[in-house]
């Protein structure tokens, strides 16, 4: 068998140009596949991270009726206890309660629908990093001042406001009476998603509770971030067991399309790698078939002098595998270093910033792939090459030694 490996290795270098072209095409194909996959993984991960951080968190708790109708009256009945349970859990990184009301924000220039989030400043900042999103002209909440409000940059542009400007919020209170209150813009935040900037405004929880006519410990929502996203489901189950009368949801319940795209991403990208390898396989088959046809006489001689058909078959398979076993790992290594470099510098998609912002994705994409993806790619390369080698190897088997050498 060692001899076969030896001959096969030397055979592939008989036509250096041809073998090099095949090896380079395999290398570039694999590199492109890995890089495109890493880009897709990065895009998906960033979208998921942004949506979890800014919108869904890992776990949310509401009163069951809240899901169907976001009415002021549907307050969490055990908010204090739930906050205490979550805070004491080591798997929980951050937890924050929210009061939420739907209303209208208006200035002299514009009015539009908004979701008003009444937040506990410190807890919310720990959960979503809201303070860091405020531009330098404004400030985050403090205990001082009356009715401060944080609004998104996109909404601020429409309302034509800046820090210090006044905004009127209109919404219904717990008695279904229309409330109209003046808020002073404390800061303008930016998000990767322009939709969120237009929709969400933040006020202090106690200001909103007072205006809504609800208690100081009444909240509509509690959102929590786990130390490890993978624990989301188990934490949800645990919390639901503790508070069976509340509706506990993980991010997978809140954004099933996000969970689905996350779960199918790996399979989808393996299919892309498979398609690339399928295309490359035809190049491999063509090259090896040419190699077999060129060496008809030589293969015939080998069979004449006593080389079994099994060995001839194996030799062609080994030659084919060599091409991929050089090109494949080179492509994987090149892909690895490209991805690692991409992780450091990121890939700027500034020209698509508007479109990306509407999907909640930043303009700098950081490619990434799980390490298992490299192994999976290597396995696909090996299997596809093995399949591609069968046809030329079978062709070699069909050679008739007499016809190939004509004479002994």
């Amino acid at each position: 068998m060692k001899t076969l490996f030896n001959i096969a290795w030397r055979n592939i270098w008989r036509n250096k140009l041809r073998s090099s072209v095949v090896i380079i095409s395999i290398m570039l194909g694999i590199w492109a596949g890995i890089f495109v996959s890493a880009f897709s993984f990065g895009l998906n991960d960033q979208r998921k991270d942004a949506l979890l951080k800014n919108q869904f968190s890992h776990i949310q708790v509401h009163k069951a009726e809240w899901k169907d109708q976001m009415e002021v009256e549907y307050l969490l009945s055990e908010a204090k206890a739930i906050l205490s349970s979550l805070s004491s859990k080591t798997e929980i990184a951050a937890v924050a309660p929210r009061v939420i009301a739907n209303g209208m924000a208006a200035t002299a220039h514009y009015s539009g629908g908004v979701q008003i989030y009444g937040i506990e400043a410190e807890a919310e900042n720990k959960l979503t990093g809201l303070a860091a999103k405020i531009d330098s002209s404004g400030k985050y909440f403090s205990k001082k001042g009356r009715n401060p409000i944080l609004i998104g940059a996109a909404l601020a542009e429409k309302l034509e406001v800046k820090p210090g400007s006044k905004v009127i919020l209109n919404f219904s209170n717990a008695n279904n009476d229309l409330v109209s209150a003046s808020f002073k813009v404390k800061g303008i935040y930016t998000e990767v998603s322009s939709t969120i900037e237009k929709m969400k405004v933040y006020v202090r929880a106690n200001d909103l509770q007072e205006l809504l006519g609800i208690g100081a410990e009444d909240y509509h929502e509690i959102a929590a971030f786990a130390e490890n996203e993978a624990d989301s489901d188990s934490l949800k189950t645990w919390l639901q067991g503790q508070y069976p009368n509340q509706l506990v949801e993980s991010w997978k319940d809140l954004a099933p399309e996000l969970a689905y795209s996350d779960s199918i991403m790996t399979q989808m990208l393996f299919i892309i790698i498979g398609i690339i390898m399928l295309a490359l396989s035809f190049g491999i088959i063509n090259t090896m078939l040419m190699a077999v046809l060129e060496r008809r006489k030589e293969l015939g001689v080998l069979m004449c002098v006593g080389m079994s058909k099994g060995r001839v078959f194996s030799m062609i398979i080994i030659e084919t595998l060599y091409l991929s076993l050089i090109g494949g790992p080179l492509g994987i290594i090149l892909g690895y270093f490209s991805v690692e470099q991409g992780k450091l510098s990121g890939l700027s998609l500034e020209v698509f910033s508007d479109g990306l912002a509407s999907y909640g994705i930043g303009t700098i994409i950081y490619p990434s792939v799980p390490s298992s993806f490299y192994f999976g790619t290597a396995a696909i390369v090996f299997i596809m090459t093995l399949l591609a080698s069968i046809y030329p190897a079978r062709h070699a088997l069909k050679l008739n030694p007499i016809e190939t050498i004509r004479t002994i």
Partner: protein
């Protein structure tokens, strides 16, 4: 003792509506240690006869017994194995493996036989020395002259310690000097080690050195003379 024996050997080919009798009822017996040349004009059936004796082609009728075994009753794999162990081949166009050195070409047959590396190396060097190429052992075929390549091919044919060597026009592509050198080597191997050689040839120099001449024409043996 006969190591090759053909009985009523026929090989017919279909050519359109007509049948060509390439070999037409040949009975031939070759004894151990003979240095026999099969001669005759082009198209007389020499090569077809050697193909049949070497188990590379199947007879339409008759039998070929090599080392007391009817080789055409063997399965494909058994026949490959039989050729590997009993028959050495020398081809007109040398047909060495281009990616292997002279020594590796000789060793290759022994590797197929499963011989140890030590044994292979020792015998390959002995054989290359016997054909006067020990200094060229590590050269590849493209670095050797035609005559040198054919001498490597003889060494390769002998590597498996075959019962006999079949050679089809072994000197056809060689110049006079190389032909003489090759014939000297094969004659010496025949005389000193008792190796049986069966040639087909047109070359008068080979005919002059042969101990037995089998003249074939129209697929039949017309004469069989021993010197």
């Amino acid at each position: 003792m006969a190591i090759i024996e053909t009985t009523n050997l026929h090989r017919d080919y279909q050519d359109g509506d007509s049948i060509i009798r390439a070999v037409d009822g040949i009975n031939l017996s070759v004894e151990e240690g003979e240095f026999t040349a099969i001669i005759g004009p082009s198209g007389s059936g020499k090569t077809t006869l050697l193909n049949l004796i070497g188990g590379l082609d199947n007879p339409s009728q008759g039998e070929v017994i090599v080392d007391q075994k009817e080789i055409h009753e063997l399965s494909d794999n058994e026949l490959i194995n039989f050729r590997l162990r009993h028959i050495g081949f020398v081809f007109q166009a040398y047909n060495l493996i281009p990616v292997l050195s002279a020594k590796e070409n000789v060793e290759f047959i022994m590797q197929l036989q499963g011989k140890s590396a030590k044994e292979r190396s020792k015998r390959a060097l002995e054989l290359l020395k016997a054909v006067g190429l020990e200094q060229q052992a590590h050269k590849r075929p493209n670095e050797l002259s035609g005559g040198q390549q054919q001498r490597v091919a003889v060494a390769r044919a002998l590597a498996s310690k075959p019962s006999f060597v079949l050679a089809d026009e072994p000197t056809a592509n060689l110049d006079s000097k190389s032909t003489e050198d090759l014939l000297d080597i094969m004659h010496k191997l025949n005389q000193e080690e008792g190796i049986t050689f069966l040639f087909s040839t047109h070359d008068q120099r080979v005919i002059d050195r042969a101990q037995r001449l089998v003249y074939v024409e129209d697929g039949k043996i017309k004469s069989d003379t021993k010197k």
